[in-house]
Symmetry: C2
Subunit: 196 residues, 2 copies
DNA sequence: GATAAAAACGATCATACGTTCGTTTCCTGA
DNA sequence: TCAGGAAACGAACGTATGATCGTTTTTATC
């Protein structure tokens, strides 16, 4: 046997990415074997290499794509919103929404950082830093206008991001808590926490 | 060659645990090979099995020990402290202190949960749940006395724990931010966040 | 319709892994 | 003091892994 009918490059790659995302999220990058991945996609192990460079590149591409999308979306979301308080609320809502929607990517993006090549890791950390800066900017401007009371912008940003990102580890869209309630609750915690 | 001079069981086991902790924290459980671990301790790979059952048991023992200590300490810390507000402050301070001091254990305790056998994982999750309950109790009592305003106790507890645990991923004891400042900043975020 | 590229197969390679085992040496307690 | 357990060695086992390669069939291009 050989090339199967109906096979197409982009479609197979998409399937590999989706299956890889799921497997890495579930069992972890190191624990995922390419044989497992291939089986899930419906390929022989060797055939994966028609679409990916290496296992490492698969991981990097997944995380990198996620970070680029995250940055683009947050900028689009904040576009045109005026005032630190409104911008902070918008940031919280966006962050939670995105992290609910793409919890697998987000989880992998932090849990598997150490599975990346130093060079790859550096690149991802830089993108993450850029995202953190979006929040830092908002906090800084709010503090300058005496709207927020913030001791240390960077540390506060880390604390808030940790809180908002935490939902990835437990949130279940089909669970007891609605998306709306989740956003309200976190928004209150954040706004009250930084209020002057 | 064979048994080396001065070797003793407990000492070697302690060395294995310390090296294992460090390796798992650095490269992850799956990525750590027992050969690497043995080399770090100064043993041949096979000799590890004089002290551990399996690689899996090594991981479980590390995490389990950490959880037991965590629970014992938080109870000791809260003992005799009256009033939800004071108890919450004490909880925050303790949590941060412990998570600074044992950041490797804490990190592994969450990041490597998925590397545990289902049975092992269940046991750890139960202990974690017990720890979460300590915070939930405080929040519940504070809400009952109208000292705190809390929509959903469990979700709020998760949010706060995520925030407070986040420091494990970035805090550097030799860095710019002092332990004192860190505690003050987080205490304020928490207390303002839940204030009625 | 011919030709080149794409996408799959299946076999295989070299290596690394967790674990076992027989043996040897050291330590400890009666 | 000496017997028996403890703690190490070093070799080995069986398996799984990431990756490569030659081949074959399908798809796409001119």
């Amino acid at each position: 046997m050989s090339r199967t009918r109906g096979s197409s490059g982009p479609k197979t790659l998409a399937a590999i990415n989706e299956a890889g995302l799921d497997l890495i999220y579930t069992v972890g990058y190191e624990a995922m074997s390419l044989r497992e991945l291939a089986a899930k996609v419906g390929l022989q192990p060797g055939s994966l290499y028609n679409h990916i460079e290496t296992k490492q590149d698969l991981l990097f591409d997944l995380i990198h794509n996620h970070m680029v999308v995250l940055l683009a979306r947050v900028d689009a979301e904040l576009e045109g919103i005026e005032g630190p308080a409104e911008r902070l609320k918008a940031f919280v809502a966006f962050h939670l929404d995105y992290h609910i929607e793409r919890k697998r990517e987000v989880f992998i993006g932090s849990a598997e950082l150490r599975s990346l090549t130093p060079k790859h890791r550096k690149e991802i950390v830089a993108l993450r830093r850029a995202y953190e800066d979006r929040l830092c900017d908002i906090l800084k401007k709010g503090a300058a206008k005496k709207l927020f009371r913030i001791d240390d912008v960077r540390v506060t940003a880390y604390a808030l991001l940790a809180m908002l990102t935490g939902i990835c580890t437990w949130y279940d869209p089909k669970g007891r808590v609605s998306r709306r309630k989740l956003i309200d609750l976190h928004t209150r915690l954040v706004m009250e926490g930084v209020a002057a």
